[in-house]
């Protein structure tokens, strides 16, 4: 039996009209991608290659120029309750408590009410914020705010979880803790997840597959299946197989960076 395809991108191109010059900028061009139900996929690539752009398009925040972006057999046209984004910045509403923030998505989707309060309480525990339900965001550390950001996305119970460098702003220790927490939570929910990061170790550690984007305009350059057993723990990062995966991906990104640098020198 084959697993259902969750998300399919066919020759996706996305353009920006730049206000400064009035010219078009092609951010991604020809992204082909299939993600199965329940898969955890990491995307890495040189800075500015269009990862965030692609993720925003999957979320429905921006429109694609050409190609097709299909979720569960339907073309993506707008944001929907089947997707939820964990933003790079915690982006919490400062005037809402932790609970209020976790409930936010549900309220926007008219799914507030008694049941949702229980969901929020459960998720606050799940992300390890017991006792902080009534705290203001300004009273939380960066790592704690990122946990709320994650809980807020999980609260709407999406089919597809989109994460845009959610741990980029955290220090190394907090970051590893959050990686483990994310794996634990993901293990409990098994949502399909699309995870963007700059950190190759993080990409390999978390994912079933790591996808490398080319330099802008972004496109899939490499698609590596990570055959490492789950549940994973941090010792895995020291193992030879793990390091081998890291090296393959590192080489691939390096090649892209060098290619753009030489192109810049010629120009």
């Amino acid at each position: 039996m084959s697993v259902a395809v969750k998300l399919e991108a066919r020759r996706v191109a996305i353009k920006y009209r730049r206000q400064s010059t009035g010219l078009d900028l092609v951010a991604v061009d020809g992204v082909d991608l299939r993600i199965d139900d329940g898969e955890f996929v990491s995307i890495v690539g040189p800075s500015g290659c269009g990862k965030t752009t692609f993720l925003n398009a999957v979320d429905g925040l921006i429109a694609i120029e050409s190609g097709a972006l299909v979720l569960d057999g339907r073309e993506i046209a707008a944001p929907g309750p089947d997707r939820a984004m964990v933003f790079q910045q915690p982006s919490l509403l400062p005037w809402r408590t932790v609970t209020g923030n976790v409930l936010y998505g549900l309220e926007m989707q008219h799914r507030g009410g008694e049941e949702s309060r229980k969901t929020a309480a459960r998720l606050i525990d799940l992300v390890g914020l017991e006792g902080f339900a009534d705290s203001w965001p300004s009273e939380l550390s960066g790592g704690m705010q990122q946990r709320v950001n994650l809980a807020r996305a999980l609260a709407t119970d999406p089919e597809l979880l989109l994460l845009d460098e959610p741990f980029a702003a955290l220090d190394a220790q907090t970051r590893e803790t959050m990686q483990q927490e994310l794996l634990r939570i993901w293990g409990a929910t098994r949502k399909t997840a699309l995870f963007i990061t700059h950190d190759i170790t993080e990409a390999v550690y978390l994912a079933d597959r790591v996808i490398v984007f080319t330099a802008r305009p972004g496109r899939v350059k490499l698609d590596v299946r990570i055959d490492l057993p789950r549940p994973r723990d941090l010792r895995l990062k020291r193992e030879a197989r793990f390091i081998e995966y890291e090296r393959t991906i590192w080489e691939s990104i390096r090649e892209e960076v060098l290619r753009t640098e030489s192109r810049a020198q010629v120009a």
């Binding site: 707008a78 933003f87 989707q109």
Partner: protein, 310 residues
């Protein structure tokens, strides 16, 4: 970060006297430490009030001292090579003279009528300005077309010192409370309106993205992001509006009125009763401080989520 308007609103709103006074310098902390931490912290908790009270008392003592000096040696006091001649009572009455004038003002009963009239002008004008200013500000901030339509009028009226409209208001509404209500209203509304508009327009792009990502409608975006985000701006507008409103009352009554604290001051000034003018001044200042204090209470209630200084 949230809430970054043209200029940083966080610092703009939070930075007031109490914030500055609340953090002792290292030197003070060291000086207090040996006397026992418990006592030091008890003092430090009330430090802003204690220091403030002491300086105010000192101010009045010196002021009264000048009055006493005048009574003792009206020809002046030699301070080495300098001769200090105290100003005459007409020029600068002493605090006790002012208190006496105030007492007389209370006893002849005029004060109640004046305060009632001025209070009415202030309350009606200011409350109307607050309600209309906030509602209009929210609408103008949210609907760009409405903004384009009203911007010329708002800019014109905001650029005009509204007090110059007083002669017109007196022609239109007479010299009773109505003309003063109008000038208070117009004086206060623009600060409130313009700040509210700025608050609504100052949307945090990150939060807008969050709202959109969760499928928020325009109205939900307004209610959950724009409106709460504009509260600090609205409060700033309300606070600025107090000053404009008080100016409106006093100047309005100075120009033409039958009753009111400003009118009393105008008459007292014209008849060289400077103590009485000062009494009126303190009355007006008291009203302004009371309003500002009430507003600060409101701010604390509405902004529990704001990070506390220290």
């Amino acid at each position: 970060m949230s809430q970054q308007p043209p200029g940083n609103i966080d610092s703009g709103v939070v930075l007031d006297g109490s914030y500055l006074a609340a953090s002792p310098t290292p030197a003070e902390a060291v000086a207090l430490a040996p006397r026992g931490a418990a006592r030091a912290s008890a003092i430090r908790g009330h430090e802003p009030v204690i220091i403030g009270t002491v300086t105010v008392l000192l101010f009045f003592v010196v002021w009264q001292g000048i009055g006493l000096l005048r009574d003792r040696s009206p020809d002046g006091l030699a301070l080495g090579p300098f001769l200090f001649v105290p100003p005459s009572q007409l020029f600068l009455p002493a605090p006790l003279d002012i208190a006496k004038a105030f007492q007389a003002y209370v006893q002849d009963g005029r004060i109640w009528k004046d305060v009632a009239v001025s209070g009415q002008e202030l309350a009606i004008g200011y409350v109307a300005a607050a309600i209309l200013g906030i509602i209009l500000g929210l609408l103008v901030g949210w609907y760009a077309r409405l903004r384009y339509a009203l911007d010329p009028f708002i800019t014109f009226l905001y650029a005009t010192p509204r007090i110059v409209l007083l002669p017109l208001f007196i022609i239109w509404f007479g010299i009773g409370v109505e003309s003063k209500i109008a000038v208070v209203f117009l004086g206060a509304i623009f600060a409130i309106l313009i700040n509210t508009t700025a608050g609504v327009r100052n949307l945090d792009a990150n939060l807008v993205k969050v709202a959109r990502s969760f499928g928020a409608s325009d109205f939900q975006l307004f209610r959950t992001i724009a409106l709460p985000g504009s509260v600090p701006f609205i409060l700033t507008g309300l606070r600025l509006g107090i000053g404009h409103a008080l100016t409106g009352v006093v100047v309005g009554e100075l120009v033409a009125a039958q009753f009111g604290v400003g009118q009393m001051m105008a008459v007292a000034g014209a008849t060289f009763q400077s103590s009485k003018v000062f009494a009126g001044l303190f009355l007006i200042a008291g009203a302004g401080m009371l309003m500002t204090f009430t507003l600060q209470r409101l701010e604390q209630r509405f902004q529990a989520w704001r990070p506390k200084p220290n």
